[in-house]
């Protein structure tokens, strides 16, 4: 299974052949990142790669450092050590808002929609990185900006349509059911056609049927972009991820394809536990 990235470069080898890609490959490379907050070590020498055509899952116990890892990639948190490389270039002193124009989008834990904008406008904000029209044209309402606005509007409608929520375009987020909001947030991330989407707990709060629809959707994205997800819902992770990285106390304790992870005893004791239905062993004595 080989795919090509947006640049036409060969994608990183599929998960089953090599767990970590060399730093020169296109896509995202996180190398030896270490973060601590006031002496408390949150990430300890963590490395990870992601490239187009691949869905990578990051799992681990609560407080393992998954969200922090996302924050490092996005520039919300500066690592004490290690580096983040995107398409062969190191991201240095980058800000969260730089990422979108580099082709990386992120969804937040929860929904993070703008409550004062309707669904369509929410998605249009996501199109900001590809908007080009200038301030002058905007102030005087000239045609370059209105033409572009029409074009972006079409794209945004397309993105909403793809998520199956086009009919809610004119509604305010707060009046919409939670799963619809989550889809709008996803449409916002996808409208600028990023090369990598990072999702923080996309399944949280969704019902089983919504989760299976989400899994389908993620599968469809695989060919177009890289996907990095943090998730506690094992159904989703096991069903969609090509490769899984397990964090515990800030360290990578396992990497592999879903079946390997499921079978890994270290992961089971630290994170998965027994199946929910059975009486759990007293893991925390």
């Amino acid at each position: 299974m080989t795919a090509t990235t947006a640049d036409g470069l060969p994608a990183a080898p599929a998960a089953d052949t090599a767990p970590a890609a060399p730093a020169t490959a296109a896509g995202l490379v996180v190398e030896n990142v270490t973060v601590s907050f006031g002496g408390l070590s949150v990430l300890d020498n963590v490395s990870l790669t992601s490239s187009t055509g691949e869905i990578v899952g990051v799992i681990g116990p609560n407080g393992a450092g998954k969200t922090t890892l996302f924050n490092v990639i996005c520039g919300f948190v500066r690592p004490q050590e290690g580096r983040v490389v995107w398409r062969g270039k190191q991201l240095r002193h980058h800000h969260p808002y730089d990422l979108a124009s580099l082709g990386i989008e992120r969804t937040l834990q929860g929904v993070g929609l703008f409550q004062g904008l309707d669904a369509l406008d929410n998605v249009l904000v996501g199109a900001a990185p590809v908007a080009r029209s200038g301030l002058f044209s905007a102030l005087f309402g000239l045609w370059p900006s209105s033409r572009e606005e029409r074009r972006l509007r079409d794209q945004a409608m397309e993105a909403l349509d793809r998520m199956g929520v086009a009919e809610y375009a004119a509604r305010m987020p707060s009046t919409l059911p939670y799963p619809v909001q989550k889809r709008i947030a996803l449409a916002r991330a996808l409208v600028s056609q990023p090369a990598l989407v990072m999702m923080d707990e996309p399944a949280s709060g969704l019902s089983a049927s919504d989760i299976s629809e989400l899994a389908e959707l993620l599968g469809a994205l695989r060919s177009e972009m890289g996907v990095l997800i943090v998730e506690h819902n094992m159904d989703l992770v096991m069903a969609t991820c090509d490769r899984i990285v397990v964090l515990d106390f800030g360290k990578v304790i396992a990497t592999g394809v879903p079946d390997e992870i499921r079978a890994d005893p270290v992961v089971t004791t630290a994170y998965l536990g027994e199946a929910v239905e059975s009486e759990p062993a007293d893991a925390r004595d």
């Binding site: 609560n62 407080g63 707990e201 019902s207 506690h232 536990g273 929910v276 759990p280």
Partner: protein
């Protein structure tokens, strides 16, 4: 004993609950299930008085509590873990928990209840003095639950407690809830998206759809009704 009788709730023109009736016996766990937007959160918020009931009655220990302010409902021994955690991020972990129990600070087991809440969630113990804002998503969920338990409630309302929790912790949480119900006689109303795990510990379950109760039965019985499961519970 919680008795809900023909309860209706509306947000302006939007009807959220229509004539909902059920009972929760002392020491029982009742799972409240249903799709997104079915009205589960609204039900819990109405019980605690955060949302006014339009019609119907809510009786707890034989007394009407509909119309009471939330703080008064809480002071009757009802704790509510709200959807989306409701951790007060400007306070420390310990202050959050202390606040949860503060209204019963004159009771002799006040401090003991707080200590026990910490003991249930070891990650919190080590973060006592830390600002709650620094906690991870899952840790916040633990804090919200621990805080509710620190008030030593007789009736516990849990709104999607497994949200953001690691599978192992979810399992542990379910075990704790079941144990509290059995040993302490705690009554639990458990709203869960994850119907499978909720039904595994619940005694009875009700299923809401578009604000109406469409099914209510023993948990085991519901779990075995295939059509209902497929239609409303998605598994």
């Amino acid at each position: 004993m919680l008795e809900i009788d023909r309860l209706s709730v509306a947000y302006g023109p939007v009807r959220a609950l229509t004539e909902v009736s059920f009972e929760a016996r002392d020491g029982s766990i009742t799972a409240v299930l249903g799709a997104n937007g079915a009205g589960k959160t609204t039900l819990l918020r109405t019980i605690t008085g955060l949302v006014p009931a339009k019609e119907g009655s809510i009786r707890y220990d034989g007394k009407e509590i509909a119309g009471l302010a939330p703080e008064e409902v809480v002071r009757r021994g009802i704790s509510h873990v709200p959807e989306g955690r409701g951790v007060i991020t400007e306070l420390t972990v310990e202050e959050n928990i202390r606040l949860g129990a503060l209204w019963r600070r004159r009771q002799p087991d006040y401090q003991e209840a707080i200590d026990r809440a910490f003991a249930l969630f070891p990650p919190l113990e080590s973060r006592r003095k830390q600002s709650a804002a620094t906690l991870s998503g899952g840790e916040r969920q633990m804090l919200a639950i621990a805080r509710a338990l620190a008030a030593k409630p007789d009736l516990l309302l849990l709104d999607e407690p497994s949200l953001g929790l690691a599978p192992l912790v979810t399992a542990e949480l379910m075990r704790i809830i079941r144990e509290l119900a059995r040993t302490d006689g705690l009554t639990v109303l458990l709203v869960e998206q994850n119907a499978r795990s909720a039904l595994s510990i619940a005694d009875v379950a009700i299923v809401l759809n578009l604000g109406r109760v469409v099914a209510s039965d023993k948990a085991a019985a519901l779990a075995s009704e295939d059509e209902l499961r497929h239609r409303y519970l998605g598994f």
